[in-house]
Symmetry: D2
Subunit: 350 residues, 4 copies
């Protein structure tokens, strides 16, 4: 839909527009209104180049796109019936919980082993542990590959699948070789399309699950879902969308909590939504409330940082990690709210 700057276009302008859209196999149809005439593009108007050409014309105000840049991720695609299973849970059938350290301390592996056992006890289905960490400060601790062994050992001991963030192809290869079950893509890499493609390719023949965090800028929903499409287009549809707060932060929080985006995501895509309350609010005291709010908005799961003794943690854990006791209570209440929402039939979206 083309909106001109003036009330209606001149004949030469219409001719120019018609020529452009026909290059792309489309037709132009004027919609003559009482006050203004607008111009519909008939055909597949998803071609970015055609849109860019038209938006570059001096007499065009803007082009309204009514189609998105994703196909497989669309709620109406054949993948909509795809079931994602991990840690004994089928996403959407019961509340799914990932929990564990922001960062594994390679010098103190026992903290992680104890945490892993404790989050399993508290009800988590996947153990999370950061091996490599993206740091604003180049001189900060950036992670240690020894932590990968610790992560896999924790998987062995608990019998639970594990989740780790990868930031480049080297990490990706190491994580897959080690057998990591769930790969996490952090907010800073959420639009790093080279990495998204590399991951898509690498897991095409595997059953690895990907947790894709939302970019830290408040980008449009379509951008988020299209990033997932990059991965899924290679053949593995095990993708979870993870809102984790956006910038600028709500005064007093690390980010602006955005669990409220859940019903909007579900209107457009079939993908399960797993909210990360720990990064949204950035402080342990607020995480239980944020977890419940995520479930209130219809989230399928939660990704929560927890540590057997938060003060001894590294990375964000001293600030954000819940003790296993608070985690257990949070999971229990979240499950009750999950049942309340399902049983009583209040639905967030139509």
């Amino acid at each position: 839909m083309i909106l001109p700057k003036s009330h209606r276009l001149t004949d030469p302008q219409v001719a120019e527009l018609t020529a452009i859209v026909s290059e792309f196999g489309c037709n132009l149809q004027p919609i003559i209104g009482a006050v203004r005439t607008i111009y519909a593009i008939l055909g597949d108007e998803r071609d970015e180049l055609m849109i860019n050409r038209i938006e570059g014309l001096s007499y065009v105000d803007r082009v309204d796109r009514i189609q998105s840049g994703f196909k497989l991720m669309d709620r109406r695609s054949d993948l909509a019936t795809h079931e994602i299973k991990l840690g004994g849970v089928t996403l959407g059938k019961e509340l799914f919980v990932i929990a564990g350290h922001c960062t594994i301390d390679p010098k103190n592996p026992n903290y992680f082993y104890e945490t892993a056992a404790a989050v399993k006890e508290a009800g988590a289905h996947v153990v999370r542990g950061g091996v490599w960490k993206p740091r604003t400060n180049p001189y900060s601790f950036q992670g240690d590959v020894k932590s990968l062994d610790i992560l896999m050992e924790a998987s062995q001991r608990t019998g639970l699948p594990v989740d780790a963030e990868v930031m480049d192809e080297e990490h990706l290869k190491m994580a897959l070789d080690a057998g990591v079950h769930m790969l996490q893509i952090g907010a800073r890499n959420a639009l790093n399309y080279s990495l998204l493609r590399a991951i898509g390719k690498a897991i095409a023949e595997r059953d690895t699950v990907v947790l894709l965090k939302r970019s830290i800028h408040m980008g449009p929903i379509d951008e988020f879902i299209a990033a997932a499409e990059y991965i899924v287009s290679f053949g593995n549809p095990n993708i979870l969308l993870c809102p984790r707060g956006t910038k600028p932060g709500l005064d007093g929080y690390r980010n602006h909590p955005d669990e409220s985006i859940t019903p909007l995501l579900k209107e457009k895509s079939w993908a399960p939504v797993v909210v990360d309350p720990s990064h949204s609010v950035g402080k342990a005291a607020y995480v239980p409330a944020c977890s419940l709010a995520a479930v209130a908005y219809g989230a399928d799961g939660l990704c929560i940082e927890s540590h057997i003794d938060p003060a001894k943690g590294i990375g964000d854990d001293p600030k954000q990690a819940l003790t296993p006791a608070v985690l257990a209570e949070t999971i229990q209440q979240s499950k009750q709210l999950w049942s309340l929402r399902r049983g009583e039939g209040i639905t967030a979206a139509v």
Copy 2:
């Protein structure tokens, strides 16, 4: 706390600073660190003029204020034990619900009478009805004073107190003369200090309750609470803080839902928090989820738009209003979540 641009200040700079703070009855104390020296202001550093003078100095990077601009609203003030009661509810003791029309249609009063009866039946404690409306478009319907009579008649018929937004002193006088129980200050007027003062004065000797909406820009919490202080400083402490979403909106919503600010408000102020989910999300389908999320974050109450037949409503009602049936279900689930949070002891804030 004064942060200089350089590693430490020169003697003449320190002398100039000392002279300024002593004008305001304060002293300066250098804090000599290993890498940088900063300068504490000893005394009451709330004086804006002193801060402005210091921030204007070319060698000062910024001044960190560690005190807020409010006193009575502070969680530590004597008012912290004040109980606000309306519609048979003591705020904080049970979930408080305001419900009704965005805008009363003066040509069709029966819609409002029926809505009032229905929201009472659904469990609301106060009936809301817009008499005057702030409109972006100057040629849109701006409200009609006849609606004030309709509002009061609805109060008579239901026995419930009523709530209306006032936008200027003329509205204020009319609303108080008519006996409106709760005055609402809209987001566009949230920083209209002349109006806040006028309201504070007018209700000083009354038991009127004020619902103060948060400004639509994502202002700091202190600004919100200080706006409430304008009203309370005249003597009537019946104030409720109302987050209602901020701009820019989350992609697909009218605003960016901000019920998550609730625990942050409660850390600083004793005032009850009543969230407006209707304006946050701006579409009826998402209001139930947003209501639950507000309770998840610890809100004391909800302010929800409802209409006996939303499609027949005016103002925002066709878009935002819940039917009484959905309102009833929303209230019921919200109450269950309220109990769940209380009974189980998960607290949002420390």
Copy 3:
């Protein structure tokens, strides 16, 4: 233009939509695309109630409005040829400059008299002086009516017109009675429609000029221009649009400078744009650069805080005010850039 959630609407849905739009004298026309059908509203689609009714339908994604809420302010209205003159300048013919105190100090009137003389000498056409001040902190200095006499005395001494902000009808009456030539509406009141109407009415028969600041939230341009329409609709078209930075601030500035909005405003409205660099950046050191940037973007004028001795100022002056010497240099360079842009023919907008 109605965008449905599905690929096309069912017959009963189309019938319902048709019924709604015909209530408002409009017709519905489906635009059948290859992939999706959308529905044009033929007629005047500016009616907010009609739009709200349609947006409330569960099968409607959103309604694209292609018409704005203003008429007189439109670049294509008859007012587009209206010339605004003040202080010997016709807006648009030469660079227009307002300068003076953020706040007049009623205890030290000589500062203001000296500033007024100095800004005249520096090249300013209007003297600005704050009489009343909106303050976040209710206990801060809120202004003093004695300052109004000082303002008018400065006008007498310099022969220049004067500008003051009004925050309520009481201020408005006093300012007009005193003969203030230009009324300023601050960012916190930019959407206070009761005040906008009151000002419009009060100056309908006068030649008073209004400087309307942009709201501190990053609202849409149409909202800004429609706010001006509130005033102009009463008959006096002497209105200047004033961008002054939006929230959240750019890291290190008081606000996010928004002089860049100037060409966008000029595409939609004929009104002159006068940028306030002082509030945008909030610190004197950055004001000259911001002033030049405003002229680079095509602004017709600047509103700059200046003080004969900034450190002795009150309100924001110690932080923001330029000395008269820096003001003079800023005006001189801004005029040179103004000529450069005009003479060489680079135009910001088509």
Copy 4:
């Protein structure tokens, strides 16, 4: 500087804090104010882990960091006298201009050759041409390695150095092997620390120049400069900081122009600032004004998209690219403003 939630800490709390900071070789010093006691950390308070530990304590409100995460990029580092030279220009001595295509069309190399000649003629010092493109839509054209040959051929023909964006290590290797003189890191990869490190390593022994775009979220300045530190820490200090607009966009622009950040960057870092007006505003008509505004704010250079025939361009060129004639005029006026600012002595920052 530690700000407690209460007026002062208890003895056990102070003991706990003291223990934590001493683990990191720091000391704690209470600053006893009239109203509140705060606690200074004496020593190097840059350790993120220490800060995280402290921020995790329930009685701590927040920790104010007064030191940044960069050292080499600091305005006070020895690198501050480093001169960056490219295309015959020493950055800071005269206005530096990069110009060329957003995207090279591999099927029509002549457009690029003609553009390269034309931007040289217009006064550009470096020719820009996109070889690979990050695309929101996974099915859009993502670039073609053939374009790399075209880029280098254009360098041969014009004798100018060339600039291309790299998105992963594979691109990096190819670009360096081909002899690309300037590497561009796009906004989506601005926080992709793996890529930043890879680039830093790869160019450590070369004289390649890097143009680092600012992230599209409105992140803090320190984050931007620290990203540059990642690269420079490997030994090559040829880095240019490139503001290019942030999200959310100013109503009507692609982004919110942020050339105004220039003086703030220069207060903290010695690195030259080269503004990208094309992505800031996103439409050719506004680019000249934005270029002048960048120079007004003190930018050292401009990175402008230009095309010999914009309507025939691909990528963003049909929307954003200037014709060579408008580019020439823009450069000429920008140089005049550059001289005006220098000659007359108005400085943006102190």
